[in-house]
Structures are given as structure tokens and as C-alpha cells.
């Protein structure tokens, strides 16, 4: 694992969060939640800082991070792709769309492309069931996506 340098400003934000929660060991999940909001993900370095601030072992922090699927140690891509697997999208074939994204980007759910441009995740219902199956790239919503439309979506962000 190569060492990454955390931005001092964000680090300070993280320390403030720990302080806000009174350095309580029991607030670990809340602190992690906020930390993921600050950094976008939870790299080892962030976990080490949190462990130190809350006076718990790094192994324990890592144990919690790996237990909850919400937490991720993968940085999100510049263009986070989310595929809705809610009931409506699912019955209209969103799983096939997901498979196509996986194939074309050559990554699994929860991963980021090596160039850092795309990351892939799933979500449950964005409240646009009339447009099923729905794909989100960042904030932008794509409706009625079929597997053969995936290439076009990706191409939009390649340039």
C-alpha cells in the first residue's frame, strides 16, 4: 500500500469532526460517515488518523470499515456511475445494463478505473421509476437505458 498525502485542510476538517463527537469511541461509525463525506472514501491514512483521535486500534477501525458496505476504501472516480437495481429498474433489465458497464469499464461494483475517470456502484430507486432502467452519472440522470446505449454514455465522459 503506497502512502498518500492527505490535504491539510481536509485533515483539519476530519480532526474537527472527531472533536465534534467528543472523541467518543462509540461514535466511530458517525465519524467514519463524516470522514467519507470529506474525502469521498476512507483510505488507510484516514483510518489511522481516526484511530489515533478516538484512541482505538487501527485494526478495529478497519474492522468496522470492512463490515459495512456503505464504507469504501476505493476513491470514487471523477464520474461516479450508479445503476439503479430497485424493483422497477430491475424488472426492466437494469442488471444487464450493469453487466455491460462492468464489461466496458472492466471494473467490478465498488471499484474505480485505473485512470480514475469512472467508478461503479449500485443503488436502490431514485424515484424515477417511469424512466426505468435508470443510470446516474454524477448528478445527471439517464432514463430507459439499454445495454447497447452504455457505450454512448461512457463516450460522453471520455472526451
Amino acid at each position: 500500500m503506497a502512502k498518500i498525502k492527505l490535504a491539510e485542510k481536509k485533515l483539519q476538517e476530519l480532526r474537527d469532526v472527531c472533536k465534534l463527537f467528543n472523541y467518543e469511541k462509540g461514535e466511530l461509525i458517525n465519524v467514519l460517515h463524516k470522514a467519507q463525506g470529506i474525502f469521498g472514501y476512507l483510505p488507510a491514512e484516514v483510518q489511522e488518523v481516526i484511530a489515533k483521535e478516538l484512541n482505538v486500534s487501527v485494526a478495529h477501525v478497519y474492522g468496522v470499515v470492512t463490515f459495512y458496505s456503505f464504507f469504501t476504501m476505493q476513491p470514487k472516480g471523477q464520474n461516479p456511475v450508479s445503476i439503479c437495481l430497485g424493483t422497477a429498474c430491475y424488472v426492466r433489465g437494469s442488471e444487464k445494463v450493469l453487466e455491460e458497464f462492468k464489461r466496458q469499464l472492466n471494473i467490478q461494483v465498488g471499484e474505480t478505473t485505473p485512470d480514475g475517470r469512472f467508478s461503479l456502484s449500485c443503488l436502490r430507486c431514485v424515484g424515477a421509476c417511469g424512466l426505468a432502467p435508470v443510470v446516474l452519472v454524477g448528478e445527471k440522470v439517464y432514463g430507459r437505458v439499454a445495454p447497447d446505449g452504455v457505450a454512448d454514455i461512457i463516450a460522453e465522459y471520455r472526451t
Partner: protein, 590 residues
């Protein structure tokens, strides 16, 4: 205390409220089987995650079976521990655990001492009905401990020891479901974690998931090499526990038989780490007196308390967790590491043996000793002062594999000069022993008077943190003692916060001291075993003609002929060390 009456298997039990069904059943002679549950009585050590479900029982009126280790008694409860429903469920639980366990009993290092294996025998499992996917994880070998988590049953005992008792925090359960394993942070190897190699995880692991790195083969090879002179040293705690491996009662002293066995194994010289423990007292005691004298004279540069440094798990602990305080512990090497240079640079040279042709083996109750003897600062041109460190368990295996009928061996004496020792050194193996030994010598050196009563009973016992004031002829010396690293942490935090009023503190990493070390025969949670080992050491001490380290004639001779004086120039070179800051970059590489 409110008492509660309940019926277990038709027998009436009356126990205090907040008693578990498991313990209530014991009071009426019912032994419910357990697997993940673990307890060391009188030491505040208990693990009851209620995870394995082997101990399930039926409670009348409850829909589901209840884990006995984790269910509290209630008035009028009716409990069945072996009806057909319970027996079937218990067997299924075990069969499911076994379905994700490698069937490697023939070659597993833990075979014979494995609690999962004995559970399968106890419940009479004769086939494995569930065949499915098995967890696969890489093996992790560190300088002292091997992790083979494919054999892990997620009992969480190691996690409890590492975090709650030792406060080391090297291990945690990570991931979830089928993928869950107990691992260091970021699933790095143990070597990159803050692990101290205290080995307490190994001593409580019910299966072969955590075992020691076995160096027996290296020792066998050295013994077979005619060009090598092979010297062995045995730690004090070994003689009080080795007999257990041969069916003797815990607390049986087997010093003489152990010496005889080592001679039959082919060691050229059978020496005693106790000799080096006497030497440690000379060096550490002198250092204590030097610091104390300067402190009393008002020297502001001198740091008190002085902390003992004979325990390598403890040394690793403060290097990782309190590096800013690493000038407080004594600089004296541990007895194991004092023995090495004395054997190679003094004894070997006297006999004309080049150090490269001398192999020093240590028999230790400890796994951290394996790491300690591999440290770079304890090598000369790549040649370690102590070549291999074997645990008490490894020695027992070696004796069995060499066709030696241990129990019929005669009692033999250690070789001289490095085999002579005093009662003071024998008690190094139990919590409180090092500081008692130090007091015996420091008292006489400081006051110039003869110590009439050598037994400092106030320093003995098994309470987690103890303190006592010893009267040095009008000067009160405040002494602190901690065993178990979690207890040590408390004393250290007090020192850091300026709240400590001790002059000297003894710390041993393992509960009970070395007698409860990670390399000792498995006690399976029976704290009586640890107590009996301690009393064995005190018995051996009481029976020794000489009981103060500075009266050991061979120690006196060693200073006269070779070392000069304690804490002198030669001592500093050979018998003292320095410590490192290991707090940074534990997990993440630059």
C-alpha cells in the same frame, strides 16, 4: 446478593442472580460443552461472544435454544442441557463449523491440544455431512507467530486477549459473513502490525489458527553438526510447566529431569538462564541504585521510576505505544540476551571456540523471545548472540520425538559455570519475582546491611496491578507491579501524566508473568495451573542455599575475571541495549 432458584436437568440449583446458565450448571455437576467461551478466573479475563452456539440448551417456555454461556439465570427456570433437541442442535452446529475447517488433523501443529478436535470427539462426530465451499486465506508467518486463519472458527478469543487484556490492538475481526477473518488492520501481515509477539493469542486459540514458529528443526540440525558446540539455556518458568506435557501435575518442578533430557538430546553444555537472571539483577539493580542515588541528591536529569526490561513482549509494547518514554526502562538486556554474549564472548573464548561455531539455544515460556533473539542489535557481524529460541511446548515435542522417557529420567545438575543460580533468579518467572529479586540485592548494596528476611511477600500475588513500599533501612521505596500489557498501560499512562509515585516498576507482558507465557503448555483457561506454576517457583527459591543474586559465586567470579564491575564499560558493551521508536509507519509504507 439475591439468590435465584432454577432447575437444570431435574436438579435444583441455587445461585446468585446474574449468573450464567453455564456457571449455574457447574454448581450441580453439569458440564455444558463450550468452544468460543473462555475464562481465566481471578484475572478478570472472560470471553463470551455467544458466537459458536455449541453450548445451547433448552429453556422451557422459550422458543429458541439459548446459549448457556450468555444467558442469565431467572427464578423458576427449567433448563435441559442434553435432551434430544439440544443434542441434535449441538451436533449440527459442530458439523457446520467443521464444514469450513480443513481436515488436517494428521499434520496440524495443534493436533492433540486442539479444542475443536476434542469437541468432535466428545460429541462423537464420525462423518462430515456438510460439504461446501471452504474459506481460503493466505498464511502469514511473522518472526514468532504463524496465522493460518483457514483453521479459525471465529471464537474471538485472540481478539479479546489482544484488545481487552493486552490493549495491543493488533487483531480485529474484519470483513463480514463468510469472508470474515481475524486480521491486523488492512489485512497486513502481523509483522507490520503493533503486535508484541506476547503470544497470548496463541495461548488461547482453540485450534491451529494461531501457532508459534517452530525452530525445532534448526536445533536438531545444529545438534547433528559435529563442527558446532551447542549450548542451551533454560528460562525459570520452563521447569515449572514442562512436566505438564508429560502428564505430571501442574506445579511439578522438573528441573533435574529437564537437565537430564537436554543432555540426552545432545546439547554440549546445559546451562541456566537463571544464571543470566542473576547477572540481570546485578546490572539492573546497580542501575536502579545509581538512578535512585542521583535522584535523592536532587539531580533533575534522572528519570524515575525505573522500569524492568527483561520481558521482550513488554519492550515491543512500549516501543510501539510509548516511544517517547523509552529512556525510562532499564537499559539492561533481558536474561536471554545477557546469556548469549556471555556464552559466546566469555565462555566460548575461554574454551577457544569461535562464536560462529557456537550455537546458543534458549528454552523459553515465551514467543516474543523468538523475535527478540532475531533483533539486529543482538547480532555480531550477522551472528546472533542467541541463535534459536524454543518454547516449552517445542522442547516437549523434541523430547518425545527423541524417544526419551521423560518421567523415568534421573535428576541431573546444570553444567558450570553458567548453570549456577540463586533463588532470586528462579522467581523471575512469575509476576513480582524480578522486583523481589532486585530488592534482595539492592537492599544490601544500598544499606550495606545483611537482609535477614529475603521473602518479600507483599510483592507476590496475582492482582492485576500491585504496589508495595519496601523499607530500605529508613528509605521507603515505592514499587509497582503489573502483569498483562493492559495493566502495564495504566501504569505507563500514570507516569506520562506525572501521576506516578513509584521508584521502580516491574512489568511482565503475560498474565501471571512468564509462567503464563505464550510458549507454555496450554492451560485451556484453568487459572489454577498458572497459580501452581508460581508456587513451584517460590518452592524452588525457598529450597536454594543461596537466594540473593550478588552472592552467586560464579557471578562474583565473572565480574572478577571478565566484566569488571556492574554497569562498567564491558557491561555496557555486552549487557545493555537501547530501544527504538516503532510507532510510525506501522501499516503504510513510504
Amino acid at each position: 446478593m439475591k439468590m435465584v432458584k432454577l432447575i437444570i436437568d431435574g436438579k435444583t440449583a441455587e445461585v446468585p442472580e446474574n449468573t450464567t446458565l453455564l456457571k449455574a450448571a457447574k454448581t450441580v455437576g453439569i458440564d455444558i460443552p463450550t468452544l468460543c467461551y473462555f475464562e481465566l478466573k481471578d484475572m478478570n479475563i472472560e470471553n463470551r461472544p455467544g458466537g459458536c452456539r455449541i453450548c445451547v440448551v433448552e429453556v422451557k417456555g422459550r422458543r429458541n435454544l439459548a446459549p448457556a454461556c450468555n444467558t442469565m439465570v431467572a427464578e423458576g427456570m427449567e433448563v435441559y442441557t442434553h435432551n434430544i433437541r439440544v443434542l441434535n442442535a449441538r451436533r449440527t452446529v459442530l458439523e457446520l463449523i467443521l464444514s469450513d475447517h480443513p481436515a488436517e488433523c494428521l499434520t496440524c501443529a495443534k493436533s492433540g491440544s486442539c479444542e475443536l478436535q476434542s469437541m468432535a470427539q466428545q460429541l462423537g462426530v464420525r462423518e462430515l455431512p456438510y460439504q461446501g465451499e471452504q474459506s481460503k486465506y493466505r498464511k502469514d508467518t511473522s518472526p514468532a507467530i504463524i496465522r493460518d486463519v483457514d483453521k479459525c472458527i471465529m471464537c474471538r478469543r485472540c481478539e479479546m486477549m489482544c484488545n481487552d487484556v493486552q490493549t495491543v490492538g493488533a487483531l480485529s475481526a474484519v470483513n463480514r459473513g463468510f469472508m470474515a477473518v481475524v486480521a491486523p488492520a488492512f489485512e497486513m501481515n502481523l509483522e507490520k502490525s503493533p503486535c508484541t509477539y506476547c503470544g497470548q493469542c496463541v495461548s488461547v486459540c482453540p485450534t491451529g489458527a494461531l501457532t508459534e514458529v517452530d525452530h525445532s528443526r534448526n536445533v536438531i540440525n545444529a545438534l547433528a553438526d559435529p563442527a558446532k558446540t551447542v549450548v542451551v539455556q533454560t528460562a525459570p518458568a520452563v521447569r515449572a510447566a514442562l512436566g505438564e506435557e508429560f502428564g505430571l501435575e501442574p506445579g511439578t518442578l522438573v528441573t533435574g529431569k529437564m537437565v537430564a533430557a537436554l543432555r540426552r538430546l545432545g546439547f554440549d553444555y546445559v546451562f541456566d538462564t537463571d544464571f543470566a537472571a542473576d547477572l540481570t539483577i546485578m546490572e539492573e539493580g546497580t542501575e536502579l541504585l545509581n538512578r535512585l542515588t542521583r535522584y535523592l541528591k536532587g539531580d533533575k536529569d534522572v528519570k524515575l521510576p525505573i522500569l524492568t526490561s527483561c520481558c521482550p513482549g513488554w519492550v515491543n509494547f512500549f516501543e510501539h505505544n510509548f516511544p517517547e518514554m523509552r529512556d525510562i526502562p532499564s537499559t539492561a538486556k533481558s536474561p536471554q540476551q545477557m546469556f548469549g554474549p556471555i556464552a559466546k564472548e566469555y565462555f566460548g573464548k575461554k574454551l577457544g571456540i569461535d562464536r560462529k561455531n557456537m550455537i546458543v539455544v534458549s528454552i523459553m515460556p515465551c514467543l516474543a523471545k523468538k523475535y527478540e533473539c532475531q533483533r539486529d542489535e543482538f547480532k555480531v557481524d550477522g551472528d546472533p548472540d542467541v541463535n534459536f529460541s524454543l518454547s516449552t511446548r517445542e522442547l516437549a515435542h523434541l523430547i518425545k520425538a527423541s524417544n526419551i522417557d521423560f518421567n523415568s529420567l534421573p535428576e541431573e545438575e546444570f553444567d558450570n559455570p553458567l548453570g549456577e543460580s540463586t533463588g532470586a533468579s528462579v522467581i523471575f518467572g512469575t509476576t513480582g519475582g524480578v522486583i523481589e529479586a532486585a530488592c534482595r540485592t539492592a537492599y544490601e548494596l544500598y544499606t550495606g546491611k545483611k537482609l535477614e528476611k529475603v521473602d518479600f511477600k507483599e510483592l507476590r500475588g496475582l492482582e492485576n496491578v500491585r504496589h508495595a513500599t519496601i523499607d530500605f533501612d529508613g528509605l521507603p521505596i515505592n514499587i509497582g507491579i503489573a502483569h498483562g500489557l493492559g495493566n502495564a498501560r495504566k501504569l505507563l499512562e500514570d507516569i506520562r501524566d506525572g501521576k506516578s509515585h513509584f521508584h521502580a516498576i516491574e512489568i511482565m507482558a503475560c498474565p501471571g508473568g512468564c509462567i503464563g507465557g505464550g510458549g507454555q503448555p496450554y492451560h485451556h483457561g484453568d487459572s489454577q495451573v498458572i497459580k501452581q506454576r508460581a508456587s513451584a517457583l517460590y518452592r524452588e527459591d525457598a529450597g536454594k542455599p543461596i537466594r540473593k543474586s550478588h552472592e552467586n559465586p560464579f557471578i562474583i567470579e565473572l565480574y572478577k575475571a571478565f566484566l569488571g564491575k556492574p554497569c562498567g564499560e564491558k557491561s555496557h558493551h555486552l549487557l545493555h541495549t537501547h530501544y527504538f521508536d516503532k510507532s510510525a509507519g506501522v501499516f503504510v509504507e513510504e
